[in-house]
């Protein structure tokens, strides 16, 4: 038998270097995280879920975690003000109080940095953090769990109604060039409470780093949560993230996602319907141009009866970009009266763009209604001619039809500031849409 060399990976070495300053309550979780990463290693294209992704830019070199947060450029500082709300900003993974605005938090709302709990965390944080994310299913989630240094904690107390959104911004700076950042967010909305969260990822265009975030969102019994994830990093960034949403009985949980940034972006969305009567919506829009690669995977788990879920993902592709959508509905034994739908549509605005769509159903139960559909198509020439025949220019007509295509994801968003913002980001990429901007 060949001897097996005991080598410690670069990532484990980083983990071990942290040991002295790691908060005691986090140590077991982070230990499990790094172990899970070490046992899995980086995924390869032989694994079905990673078949379309070229990870070699990430796996060939070690991306050490950013040691000291960099300076935030004024262009990025401007981005921080996009949404009014209770704002908490992380720069290269570390809480930046000077950029945050957490004055006058309403009763029942806690927003803060995980690092604040060095001496011990309250139960309302420990009872959810890391409890549901599956570190054995996705190596990057394990890697984040092992190596995050700080993160956001959002807690809404039982029955509290938070009117203004909580805005979490993760900024990667020049310091992230060739380095990694591990943003972590835990949102816990307790029974009967209601809140909105906007989590945004930004970075300068030219910075090529690795961002590996994990966001946990938990809705208690009867809670209502609107969680928005806006991935808008610069054109050279590589972003591999995970979102884990879970909901107890009769909760309404809506997850909205925009993925428009980064050269390579991959997000895995896990959603668990844990109690009866949950209404879970997972809606996403991905915009790609140039040579961007964007990959979205969903895993919606109906664990109990009487659950409703809806997944709507739409892609708008330009240039030579490529996208993948891989969506799973899983109905567990006993989860009767499940109603689940999944829809993925892709609009190719340029001939060289390429889109893959892979819907999957795993149903271990009778008496359920599950539907799915996926399409890849171009702009409707007949509709465009109809618009032009009324005086609308070709460029404006294309913009109008493209935004219309995105509307199914946008029009049911409860926060118009977010849907208008996303509409404007679509128009940023299209000529002739000036009249259609929310400010116009």
């Amino acid at each position: 038998m060949a001897a097996i060399a005991e080598t410690r990976s670069d990532y484990r070495q980083e983990f071990e270097a942290d040991s002295a300053r790691r908060a005691g309550w986090l140590a077991p979780l982070q230990q499990r995280g790094i172990e899970a990463f070490e046992s899995q290693g980086f995924p390869t294209r032989r694994q079905e879920a990673w078949r379309k992704v070229d990870l070699t830019p990430i796996t060939q070199h070690h991306y050490p975690r950013v040691a000291e947060p960099g300076r935030v450029s004024s262009a990025l500082t401007d981005k921080l003000g996009a949404f009014p709300g209770h704002r908490v900003v992380f720069v290269d993974g570390i809480y930046a109080p000077e950029l945050s605005d957490l004055g006058s938090l309403p009763k029942g709302l806690t927003v803060g940095s995980l690092a604040e709990y060095a001496d011990g965390a309250p139960e309302r944080l420990t009872e959810v953090m890391g409890e549901r994310v599956d570190i054995d299913a996705q190596p990057f989630i394990a890697l984040n769990t092992g190596l995050f240094r700080d993160g956001a904690f959002v807690h809404v107390a039982r029955g509290a109604l938070v009117e203004q959104p909580v805005v979490i911004v993760h900024v990667a700076t020049e310091a992230a060039q060739g380095h990694a950042v591990y943003p972590r967010t835990v949102t816990h909305v307790e029974a009967g409470a209601e809140a909105r969260v906007i989590e945004q990822f930004v970075s300068p265009d030219e910075i090529e780093g690795l961002v590996v975030p994990v966001s946990e969102v938990h809705a208690g019994q009867d809670a209502i949560v609107d969680y928005h994830r806006l991935q808008e990093e610069g054109a050279a960034m590589r972003h591999i993230g995970g979102v884990h949403a879970s909901a107890e009985g009769n909760a309404g949980c809506r997850v909205y996602s925009l993925a428009s940034g980064a050269a390579l972006s991959r997000v895995d969305y896990y959603a668990d319907l844990e109690g009866e009567g949950v209404d879970l919506q997972l809606k996403g829009l991905y915009l790609t141009e140039g040579r961007q690669f964007s990959d979205q995977h969903t895993y919606v788990n109906h664990r109990v009866a009487h659950g409703t879920s809806s997944q709507v993902f739409r892609g708008i592709l330009q240039g030579r970009s490529e996208t993948t959508f891989d969506g799973l509905i899983r109905v567990f034994e006993g989860a009767e009266k499940t109603s689940a739908e999944q829809q993925n549509r892709n609009l190719l605005l340029d001939k060289m763009a390429l889109s893959h769509s892979n819907p999957r159903l795993e149903i271990f139960n009778n008496d359920v209604v599950c539907t799915h559909g996926s399409t890849v198509g171009e702009l409707d020439e007949t509709a465009l001619f109809y618009l032009r025949s009324r005086g609308v220019s070709q460029a404006e007509g294309k913009s109008l039809l493209t935004v219309a295509f995105a509307n199914e994801v946008l029009e049911n968003m409860r926060d118009e500031r977010v849907s208008n913002y996303i509409r404007d980001r679509i128009l940023d990429r299209l000529p002739g849409g000036e009249n259609m901007r929310s400010s116009a």
Binding site: R388, S389, R390, G391, A404, N407
Partner: protein, 251 residues
């Protein structure tokens, strides 16, 4: 002055000639009816006038208000006051009727050097015009033509025409599939807009619509050619005798 002059127009679709030398001249303020059997080229004529690129003009000329129409993009034609009422109005999910019409009206106004229409004024305008064509108010906020009945789609075309106030309106089989109530609503909409300056080309298979919209001239289009022109009585003759006689003479 002629608002429209079509001279020896030949049009092909995918290599097959559909129009084989159409000549037609329309004076300002007049209503012309173009009648003909299925497949005679009526809708091809309408689509070519609107600028549909699926139709290839192989020879001939079209002058609109003295300008070369074939040199103009579809949107330029519209901005210059040309309007086509579609035989099959297109559904556009995700775009509200109101939004669409506002974009269209502002494009026309901008071209004419006018200010963009104020939101309140626009709302009042469309409400008033919807009434004239008996279009249900609730359809204004719905996506363009999506889920509309056949009659609602046609009324929506006439409604758009009433808002955009074009100079030359071509109505392509607007009567097809309409019941008598919808037909009279559409005709009322058109008649209200007849002001001695605005011109209409009403394309139809049947004489029925022409009882409501009385034409100044009637043309019979058969096998891609206008084989006979006359006054409104020609339509009545056609109703009695059918197109068969012309078909034989053309063959």
């Amino acid at each position: 002055m002629a608002v429209l002059e079509i001279k020896d127009l030949h049009v092909s679709v995918e290599g097959t000639e559909i129009l084989s030398g159409v000549n037609l001249s329309m004076e300002e303020g007049k209503v012309h009816a173009v009648m003909g059997p299925n497949g005679s080229g009526k809708s091809t004529l309408a689509k070519v006038l609107a600028g549909d690129e699926n139709y290839e003009v192989t020879s001939g000329q079209i002058l609109y208000k003295g300008q070369d129409l074939l040199e103009m993009a579809p949107e330029e034609r519209a901005r210059e006051g040309f309007f086509l009422g579609f035989q099959y109005p297109v559904e556009i999910p995700g775009v509200s009727n109101t939004y669409f019409l506002k974009a269209a009206l502002n494009a026309v106004r901008k071209h004419q050097g006018l200010q963009e229409v104020d939101a309140m004024e626009f709302l009042e305008l469309i409400k008033e015009r919807a009434k004239t064509v008996k279009l249900d108010d609730s359809l204004l906020q719905r996506p363009v033509n999506e889920g509309f009945s056949g009659g609602e789609k046609k009324r929506n075309e006439i409604f758009q025409m009433a808002v955009l106030e074009p100079e030359l309106c071509v109505l392509d089989e607007t009567d097809s599939g309409l019941d008598i109530d919808a037909l009279s609503a559409v005709a009322d909409g058109v008649n209200l807009m007849r002001d001695g300056k605005r011109s209409f080309m009403v394309i139809t298979h049947y004489q029925r619509l022409l009882n409501y919209i009385v034409p100044d001239e009637v043309h019979v289009l058969v096998n891609g050619r206008i084989v006979k022109s006359g006054d409104k009585h020609l339509a009545e003759e056609l109703e009695a005798s059918g197109y068969a006689a012309f078909d034989e003479s053309a063959a």
